[in-house]
């Protein structure tokens, strides 16, 4: 056990670890938002509610169908992504050509509906979701105690984030996506079904939110307001990182989680607001965000 700046290493690394985990969720969620914004130019306010739906779907699958965590990791993003596809196809498509603010308002309304419905059945309480057996317990590393599940969260979200980045920036499908964002008409002329691509992209982004929800279920209580609690912080993360950039969203998410964790050690009262304070500073210095490409 050693001390850094007067803080024992256990405390420091413990909070850093928690910060890295929060950062994993920030990264996953802002990644989903960035993907959706990149393709549709819509700020998906429903993202928080879809994250919550992911957690609840995992909970319900376990409660009523006995389907456990590992299967849920695969099933839930597909289910939640499917609801996203329905939303895009029947609601968001009608807003094509209108001011983008209407998209924000529509997704805001959807978020209220989803949260309200869940709140009605589950109150504002949290439901417990048991940790998968393979990941319980932890290792004492000497300078800190590392619970296994939390280590898994970090590793898996890194894989998902970089996998998504790779798919979008380095594969052919990704290049179609990026081209369709720049110039949909031209891409259509090449025979690519752009509306379907857009719908699937929204579904994919929403699926990412659902995946984050499943991963959150064992460590954060599954409660109807878990989405709204986190979504506004994720918005700030996205503004800091810059809306258009996938890598920016991932890096900023992890980085800000770590910053938040550090703040909890050295200046706990400010920990909930530090991300917003950083947002203000970044906006004043570099309005398009750290990695943004301008609007």
């Amino acid at each position: 056990m050693f001390e850094i700046f007067g803080i024992p290493s256990q405390a420091l690394f413990g909070q850093l670890l928690l910060g890295l985990i929060n950062g994993s969720f920030y990264a996953l969620l802002s990644l989903g938002l960035a993907v959706i914004f990149g393709m549709l130019n819509i700020v998906n306010f429903t993202h928080g509610a879809q994250y919550m739906m992911g957690a609840f779907t995992a909970y319900l699958l376990l409660q009523y169908l006995g389907i456990g965590y590992w299967a849920a990791l695969v099933i839930v993003p597909i289910l939640v992504g499917a609801t996203g596809i329905v939303i895009e196809r029947f609601l968001l498509q009608r807003l094509r050509g209108l001011d983008h603010l209407y998209g924000l308002l529509l997704t805001f309304g959807l978020a209220l509906i989803i949260e309200g419905v869940f709140r009605n059945y589950y109150g504002a309480n949290g439901q417990a979701y048991g940790m998968p057996d393979a990941l319980t317990g932890g290792h004492n590393l000497g300078f800190m105690f590392l619970p296994n599940y939390r280590a898994w969260v970090i590793v898996f979200s890194l894989i998902v984030c970089f996998g998504t980045w790779f798919a979008i920036e380095r594969t052919r499908l990704g290049s179609y996506l990026r081209a369709a964002t720049e110039n949909p008409t031209l891409v259509r002329a090449f025979g690519i079904n752009v509306p379907r691509l857009v719908t699937l992209t929204y579904g994919f982004g929403v699926g990412l939110a659902g995946l984050a929800g499943v991963m959150a279920a064992p460590i954060y209580n599954v409660s109807p307001q878990m989405g709204s609690d986190i979504i506004i912080v994720v918005f700030a993360v996205v503004v800091i990182g810059g809306m258009g950039s996938i890598m920016g969203a991932i890096l900023t998410g992890f980085a800000l989680g770590i910053v938040e964790g550090l703040t909890k050690v050295f200046f706990p009262e400010a920990s909930s607001t530090v991300i917003f304070a950083i947002m203000i500073v970044v906006l004043l210095a570099r309005p398009t965000g750290l990695f943004g490409r301008g609007m």
């Binding site: 700020v43 983008h100 209407y102 924000l104 529509l106 209220l112 918005f235 607001t273």
Partner: protein, 322 residues
């Protein structure tokens, strides 16, 4: 950039004045009769929200800026007004002024940060700023956190009028709100207001005409924040309580909803929208969380099919300006 509200503009001004006067007359008559038919506290609550929504509408309807964090000014003004009344023993008039001034200061600071961006970015920044101040309110000693600030009883206005008398309080609220609405009306129909509308229609062109649009937007922002603060301070005096609900993001969402339902870019739209939503919430209160769901449904429905709002549709149908 397409404008958010498709309202008739400059050429209908003269006919507009007449229809607006008629609508104003109806509103005054309604407010005169209301306390004898409806629960006065309900009407006062609706009036405070009507002012809040009109202040919000100043930005979205006439400048084209969607502020998604307007609860910041509403809530913090109510906190400061309540705090002034409680800890500094200020009479209600002064407390309200302090609250409004607080909102103005917050408006200047937030405006300077947010005006740099437009459209969606602007909305997200205002939301994030409001959330940050919500988190501050959660922990600050000043605001009482979860418990809020409680005022023991209403005091005398200007040392003369006893606000514990429900009708006196009601009259006071009506006068203040109507005066503020009139002020908004004058702002919109002034040369300053015309420039704002020009900025909403085409900011690039306004810049090329020589207007420093950022400055105009900032002034509009501060005006909107101050009037929202006035509404918040008034509400604190009516209910003798300032709480976290007033700074929460759902409050920001509610004022957007009221304006959307009532009619963006109309004078009376937000008033109608406020009454509608407050009445709906009152009526549906026994149904608990369904209120949230219904608010969401109204949002979605308005955005998809009812973008003009109640008053907007009425104005469109009658081909007048409201």
């Amino acid at each position: 950039m397409a404008s958010l509200a498709g309202v008739p503009t400059v050429n209908r001004q003269r006919e507009g004045a007449r229809s607006e006067a008629v609508a104003a007359g109806i509103l005054v008559a309604f407010l005169a009769a209301a306390p004898f038919v409806l629960y006065p506290v309900f009407v006062m609550k609706a009036l405070c929200f009507a002012l809040f929504a009109c202040a919000f509408n100043l930005l979205i309807g006439y400048v084209g800026l969607l502020s998604f964090g307007h609860a910041l000014y509403f809530g913090w003004a109510s906190y400061l007004a309540a705090y002034a009344a409680q800890s500094w023993a200020m009479p209600p008039g002064l407390a309200i002024m302090i609250g409004t001034a607080t909102a103005a200061v917050l408006g200047i600071i937030a405006g300077l940060i947010a005006i740099r961006r437009q459209g969606i970015y602007f909305a997200m920044i205002t939301l994030a700023l409001a959330q940050m101040m919500y988190l501050v309110a959660l922990r600050a000693k000043l605001t009482g956190g979860e418990d809020g600030i409680q005022l023991p009883s209403r005091r005398r206005l200007f040392g003369v009028f006893d606000l514990n008398n429900e009708m006196t309080m009601y009259a006071f609220v009506v006068i203040v709100v109507l005066a503020a609405l009139f002020l908004i009306y004058r702002i919109i129909n002034s040369p300053f207001g015309e420039v704002l509308k020009a900025i909403r229609e085409n900011e690039q062109r306004s810049i090329s005409l020589g207007y420093s649009t950022d400055r105009y937007k900032l002034v509009a922002f501060v005006l909107s924040a101050s009037l929202a603060g006035l509404a918040g301070s008034l509400k604190a005096m009516v209910f003798q309580l300032a709480s976290l609900t007033d700074v929460h993001w759902t409050m920001s969402g509610e004022v957007v909803l009221m304006t959307l339902v009532g009619g963006l870019g109309t004078i009376f739209g937000p008033v109608v929208g406020a009454f509608f939503i407050v009445a709906m919430e009152n009526y549906l209160a026994p149904f608990g969380q369904w209120v949230l769901v219904i608010q969401g449904v109204i949002f979605v429905a308005c955005v998809l099919t009812f973008r003009r709002g109640i008053v907007g549709e009425l104005a469109h149908w009658l081909r007048v300006k409201l």
